[in-house]
Assembly symmetry: D3
Homo-oligomer: 175 residues x 6
C-alpha cells in the first residue's frame, strides 16, 4: 500500500483581487452576495486544484454570514488555502476583506469553508495528498475540519447526529 503524499496549506494559498463594478451591485450600490460567492468559488477551486494537482468540482459550501456591505468601487481581496484533505475531498478556507482604496479603509467582510472533490480524467474521484499544517492557525483549522465535516454530513442527511462525536463536543452538549 502506497503512502500518500503530504503537502502544506501554504502550497495551495491563492490571493485574488476583484474591483467592484456596476454590474456586480444591487440598486443600493452594494456588492451582491451571489457575485461574491462566485468569486469565493473560483479562488477556492484554484486552491483545491493546487493542492490536488487535479481538476475539482464544488461539493459543498458551509454556512456563510455576510457582515459588512461592500460598495461599488471597493477592492475585494480573497485569500484561500486548503485546511484539510480527506480521501478525495478537500476543505478550503476563504477569507474576504474589502477596501475603500482612496481612503485606505479596510474591513473584514466574511470567511467561509468550501469543499471540493478532485477528479481524474474520467471524472472519477481520485485520492489527494494529505495536509500537514504548520502554523498554529493552520493546526486549529485542521482540527476543526472534522467537526465541520460531521455537521455537513448531518445536514446532508448522511450521518446521524449521535454519531458525530467531534461536533457534539463543540456544541458542548453532555449526554
Amino acid at each position: 500500500m502506497s503512502k500518500r503524499k503530504k503537502k502544506h496549506p501554504r502550497e495551495s494559498a491563492v490571493n485574488m483581487t476583484e474591483f467592484v463594478l456596476p454590474n456586480d451591485t444591487n440598486t443600493l450600490n452594494n456588492l451582491m452576495g451571489g457575485r461574491l460567492m462566485h468569486w469565493m468559488d473560483i479562488v477556492s477551486a484554484i486552491a483545491a486544484q493546487r493542492h490536488s494537482n487535479h481538476l475539482v468540482v464544488t461539493a459543498s459550501v458551509d454556512n456563510i454570514s455576510f457582515k459588512n456591505s461592500i460598495q461599488l468601487g471597493n477592492v475585494v481581496t480573497l485569500k484561500a488555502k486548503v485546511t484539510r484533505a480527506f480521501n478525495s475531498s478537500m476543505e478550503v478556507r476563504i477569507d474576504v476583506e474589502a477596501e475603500d482604496v482612496p481612503s485606505g479603509k479596510k474591513f473584514e467582510s466574511n470567511s467561509a469553508f468550501f469543499t471540493f472533490v478532485a477528479l481524474d480524467d474520467k471524472e472519477n474521484p481520485v485520492a489527494v495528498p494529505v495536509i500537514e499544517p504548520e502554523t498554529e492557525e493552520e493546526i486549529a483549522l485542521y482540527d476543526g475540519a472534522l467537526r465541520r465535516r460531521q455537521l455537513r454530513l448531518i445536514l446532508a442527511g448522511r450521518m446521524k447526529p449521535n454519531d458525530a462525536k467531534e461536533l457534539k463536543s463543540f456544541f458542548d452538549l453532555k449526554p
Copy 2:
C-alpha cells in the same frame, strides 16, 4: 401598536430559468458552483423583495450540498419562496432542478436556504410582513426555520449552543 401584515409563501414565489453557457462552466463542461450560487442569490433576493416590498441584502447562506453535476447546454430551473419572516429578516428556500432538454431528462440539483434583511430608504432594517404558511410543506418549512436560525446564530458566534432549544431537539441530544 400596529399589527404586522400577513402574507402567504406563494405571494413571493419566483421561477427563474437559466441556460448553461460556455462561460458558466469549468474545463470539464460542468456548471461552476459559484455561478449557480450567483443565480440562487438573485432568485431568492427577488422572492424576499416580493415579500417585503423593500430592497433587500443577503444576510447569510446556509450549508449547500451539490449532488449532481449540471452540464453545458442544460436548462436550470430555480424556484424560490419565503418560508418565514422574523423581524426585518426573511428565510428563503430555493430548489434547483436541471434538465437536459433534448432528452427531456430532469434531475434535482440541490436546495438551499438564504436569509435576507429588508432595508428602508436610509438603508436601515425595516419590519416585514409575517408569513402564514398554507400547504403542509410550507408549514414544515416554517417550523424548521427556527431551528435553522439557531444553527446560523451559533455558527456566527452569536448564540450559545445550550440556548438553542429547537436545534437541540433536532440533533436528538438529550440533556
Copy 3:
C-alpha cells in the same frame, strides 16, 4: 406512414425571470430593447426545445412593439409556449411583464412570436410533434399561426400576397 406525436402547449411552457442590471440599460436607465430580445430568444428557444426534444435555431422573429419602458432594478418575467408546429418549425409566443418589486407595481411590456427550426445531429431539419391546443386562448393562438406564417413568408419574399388566403381575411380585404 407513421403518425406524428401530439403535445400540448403547456408541455413546453417556460418561465424566466431576469433582474435589470446597469449593463442592461441605456443612459436613461431604461432596459435596452436588444437585451430584452436576447432574453426573449433564450426563453422561446427553451420552449421550442422542450416541444421538439431537439436542438433548435431561430428562424424568424415577428414584428415586436415595445410599449412601456422597463427600468433599472425592475424584475422582468418572460413566459413562453409553443402555439403551433408545422413540419420542422414551431411558432412560440412570448409574453413579457415587468415589475417594480418594492412598490409591487406590475405592467405588461410586450408580446412576440419567434419561430424555430428543430435540427437533428447532422444539423438537418427534423419533424416535430404537432400541437393540440387545450384552452380557448391556445386555440386562438393556434388558429392565428397560419395567418402569421403567411405574413412571414410574404415579407421574406417566399409567398405571393394573393396566395395568402388566411392573411387576406385578416386584412378584411374583399376582392
Copy 4:
C-alpha cells in the same frame, strides 16, 4: 412655424464589427439569434442618435428572417442608417453580413428595420430632422417606409387594415 432641418441617410451611417465568442453561441456553435438582435439594436440606436442628436428608445422591430447560420469565430459586420424620419420617430435599416475571415468567405445573414423614438431631457418625444435620400437605394427605402409603418400600426392594433393605402398596393390587392 420653424421649418425642420434636413439630413441625409449617410450622416447617420454606422459600421459595427463583432467577433463571435463562445458565450454568443448555442451548443451547435451557431451564433444565437438573440445575441445578434442585441447587436442590431445597438448599431441602429447609434444611427438614430446620430440622426436625431438625441437619446433614443427602441419603439419596434420589424419581422426578421434569419437565413444562414453564423459560426463561432466568424466576424459579423452590421451596417445601419436611417431610412426615413416621421415626427419624433425614425426607421433604421440594418444589414448584417458574416465572414469566415481565414477563408475570406463572406455571406449575407439578414437585414431588418428597427424604429426608434427620440427623447428630450425630460424623456418626452422630440421632433427630429427629416430625411433627404440621395441614392437610388435610399429613395426606395424612403418610399417603402410608409408601407412598413402602416403594417407596424396594423399589427400593433393602432390602424385599420382598410386605411392602409400604401400597404394595400404592396399586397397588390385590388378592391
Copy 5:
C-alpha cells in the same frame, strides 16, 4: 522560390463601433483603459486575419498614450489596418475616436500599433502576403514600421541599440 502575394492596406481595413456601458467605466464614469485596449486588440486582430487569411495571435503592443477621457454613453469608433508585413508577422495601426452622439461632438482618443503573428493549423508561424501601400499616409506608415520594429526588438532585449539604424536616425543621434 515562390513570390509572395501582395495586398493593399485597405483590404484589411476594419471599422468597429462600441457603446460605453456602465461596466466599462471606473467610478469617475470614464472608460477604463483596459477595456479600450481589449477592443483595440479585437479590431486589430480582425485586420491581421483579413490580411493573412490565417488565425493570428497578439505578439506585441507599442507604447500607447491616452489623451482625452471617454465617458459613459459615448460611442467609440476604432479603425484598424495593416501597415506592413514582415515574414509571418504584421504591424496594425489602430485609430480610436470617441463621440458624444447627442451633441455630435467628436474627439480623437488615441492611436496605437499592435503586432500579430499568423499561425497555420498546427499553430506554427506561417508566411503572410507583403503590403503594397497606396496612399501617402500608408507609405509613411509603411516606412516607419521598420523603425518601430527595431524599437520593439531593443525593448524586448532581442536587438542591440547600435544595430538599429532606422531607429537611430529617428532619434537624430549623430555618432
Copy 6:
C-alpha cells in the same frame, strides 16, 4: 512649502488571480491579448490607487511583448507595484505568470509598465507621495523609470530626443 509624504513600493503591492474562461480565448483556445491587458490595467490601477489614495486614470502603457501563449483553464497571476512617482503620475510595474494548475507547470508570460495620473474630487491632477525603494530590484526599477519616462514623452511627441539624457545612455549612443 510642505514636504511630500514617502511610501514604499510594497505598500502598493497587489496580487490578482484570474481563471481563463472560454470567452477570454480565441478560436485556438489561447487567452486573447486584449483580455490580458484589461486585467493588467485593473491590477495596476489598484496599485496606483493604493499608493496615491486617490482615484486614478490610465495615462499610458509601455511597449508589451507577449512571449508564451496562455491556455483555456490556466490560472493567471498578476503582480503590480508602483516603481516611481513623479508629480501627479505614477509608474506601475506588472508581472504576469501563468500556471497549468493540474500539472503544476508555471511559466512567465510577460511584464509591463503602466502609468496613471491621480485625480482629486474635481478630476484635476493631484500630487502623490514619492516612492522610497527598499530592495535592490525596487531601486533598479526606480532608476530606470526616468529613462522609460523620456521614451514615453518622445514617443508622444512631447520631448525632443536630444533632451533625453537618461535614455541616450541606455541606448549607449555616444555623441
